[in-house]
């Protein structure tokens, strides 16, 4: 498999195997032109958060969490539209990630549980969808300090 170099927002240039690239046929909301991303795990393999870095735009990067960390029974219905975009077939390994907004006061960090990024690990494709389920768009991940 070919190795390619990618300029990243937070880790300068990284060299990755081409098969690590996730194809987002629809991009992500507000950044529809960005169709290819990679997941970087600087905190260790399978450790969250991870960095979802655009391959095409160096400055575009999201910090993503595993929603199950906040909501153990997190489950989102895969719509037919999403399945089609993913090229999903029965038995594919599906993973959900949620995008964090990290303000300067990092204790106010929230994740968007309403609009997860769904990855089809078998097809190396991903989409961001709006869940039919009633999850909040701004879920605080730190407990509020009691005053």
């Amino acid at each position: 498999m070919n190795l390619i170099k990618i300029k990243t927002r937070d880790f300068s240039e990284v060299e990755i195997s081409e098969d690590m690239i996730l194809n987002f046929p629809q991009g992500v909301f507000a950044f529809e032109d960005n169709k290819r991303f990679i997941l970087i795990s600087p905190l260790g393999e399978d450790k969250f958060p991870m960095w979802l870095q655009s391959v095409d735009t160096e400055a575009l990067c999201f910090i993503v969490f595993d929603p199950k960390e906040f909501c153990p029974d997190y489950a989102v219905t895969l719509t037919d539209e999403a399945k089609e975009a993913l090229g999903y077939s029965e038995g594919d390994s599906i993973e959900y990630l949620v995008i964090a907004v990290i303000p300067e006061q990092y204790k106010d960090t929230t994740v968007n549980l309403k609009s997860p990024v769904v990855i089809d690990n078998s097809k190396k494709t991903a989409v961001q969808l709006i869940a039919q389920e009633a999850y909040p768009v701004r879920f605080p991940i730190f407990k509020k300090e009691e005053n």
């Binding site: 507000a30 960095w51 999201f62 910090i63 907004v101 999850y135």
Partner: protein
């Protein structure tokens, strides 16, 4: 916020060019029909929120070492209550 009651097939008009019609009412879901000029962007509010949040999130520059420190302080919040 202005609140108006409408029945199925009734509607409201906003300005001179936007017309919203209640197409169907079910137990927990209302279907709306919208007539508006082409240049008026119409999105579901969750999508609007998510676009705004994605834009904010995209500019959260966060070096990994700081993030690592931050995560070690993290106390995960309780379970998510469905809204």
């Amino acid at each position: 916020m202005l609140v108006v009651s409408r029945k199925a097939e009734e509607g409201i008009i906003i300005g001179d060019s936007i017309k919203i019609t209640v197409v169907e009412i079910n137990r927990d879901r209302v279907r709306l029909g919208i007539d508006a000029p082409q240049d008026v962007k119409i999105v579901r509010n969750e999508l609007y929120d998510t676009e705004k949040l994605n834009i904010q999130a995209a500019f959260n520059k966060m070096p990994a070492d700081i993030m690592k420190k931050l995560m070690s302080e993290k106390e995960i919040g309780g379970n998510v209550k469905e809204q």
